[in-house]
Subunit: 283 residues, 2 copies
Amino acid sequence: MTRLSLNQITTKGWSLAQAVRGCVDAGIPAIGLWRDKVAETGVAEAAKLVRDAGLAVSTLCRGGFLTAPDPDGLRAALAENLRALEEAAELGTDTLVMVVGGLPEGSRDLVGARERVAELLGELAPHAGDFGVRMAIEPLHPMFCADRAVVSTLGQALDLAERFPASQVGVVVDSYHVWWDPYLSAQIDRAGDRIASYQVCDWTLPLPADALLGRGHVGDGCIDFRAMTDQVTAAGHTGWIEVEIFNQEIWDTPGEETLRTVLERHGAHVEPADAGPARGEPA
Amino acid sequence: MTRLSLNQITTKGWSLAQAVRGCVDAGIPAIGLWRDKVAETGVAEAAKLVRDAGLAVSTLCRGGFLTAPDPDGLRAALAENLRALEEAAELGTDTLVMVVGGLPEGSRDLVGARERVAELLGELAPHAGDFGVRMAIEPLHPMFCADRAVVSTLGQALDLAERFPASQVGVVVDSYHVWWDPYLSAQIDRAGDRIASYQVCDWTLPLPADALLGRGHVGDGCIDFRAMTDQVTAAGHTGWIEVEIFNQEIWDTPGEETLRTVLERHGAHVEPADAGPARGEPA
């Protein structure tokens, strides 16, 4: 069975119901959900939709944003993340992707922001355990350090995650964010069963005017997906491989066409048929 | 005496002669030169211009681009870097900034590109020693990994530099490229006298359409320059602090005005008058 999962941001124009239908029609066995799309449908109805369609839910995106500079902001972040954990459990996924947040407006205190992330993860971790949902810290590319995530490398994400039980806090390996890292191989090995999610899309040039939207289809850029996938798999992650693409041009493409490209590229670059011995079923 | 040096790219609209005059008029005691500007004037004439003006030459920018995939390309890179070392010596600077180059067009072999950088540095290092010029490896922000520099962190630059004598290969600490690094403090400590150049400009948002041109005046973004400068100085770099800004808006500003801003920001954020005991004269 393919390990492919569709992160639904890749077909941003589709509602949750359309994305579920698209996956079923294309033979994609899993989906990564976004909270805003789930909210449009309602959590209970969304859970029923994916369950009735026979889809696995690889992740829920996303919790995080833990760097507020004031007690009220931090309390609000805690409450929001508890809701996200609860939603993840109700949707039937064991993984909540965490984008930890950037520097507060006007702040230059990167060390302090990172400390707040560690503290709030500590408060949330036992609750994650109670919900049976693992928080997966996503290191974002360093170009997003100021405004989106003060966790920038896999090594740093592991330094954080390892303070907590592996069942409560893991990490995301997203090809786009980590491909450049000279110590990536060693950190993937180190990560082992902390890898809660493996997400793929390609690094393409030039960067677009909105740096968030520069991600390309697998195969369109400079990432060696075969090597990365082998490393992630050898480290112990035999679960889903989520295709997550932020790209206006792809978002403007009909969803069915996008899924055809996703499937074709996945077979050509990520899980080629000649990839050797079976890697086991997705978890 | 101030440690401030003007990297002449900051006043890109100025010729070398204008930049030299601007530094003298503004009381800036040193300048970082660019090879293209030097070439417009001629190396011998450029050397005379800065010498007669009493300016120190903090660096020459730049050598590097060592990742060509073919023997001809590598031979050409070697020859070009030898010329750059010779120019640096003739211009009276002991530091050649090295931007090592990105992935070759169409390549996904990041490991191979990095190996070529190490090999060519090895070939160049003894020549650097002969010229009395140190090659300063500049880690560039990871967003430039694909197209400009496969060396992305200070730690990685030091792993490379430490293969060679400290008199032949050092590193650049450029605030814009490394500020986000969670292990920056430890790597600056480690760098010690390998720090051949300390360059400053600020990380501002949003990133512009051309990601190369997003650098701001010190104080306009989110970098804590006081902390970084203290770390770099404590590590042993008591030399020049070069202001190097790539920014179209600043380039469109009259040079004299830019220098006024540079001086004001340097005093406010980088070398404040209340910074404690003198840090020694620039080398």
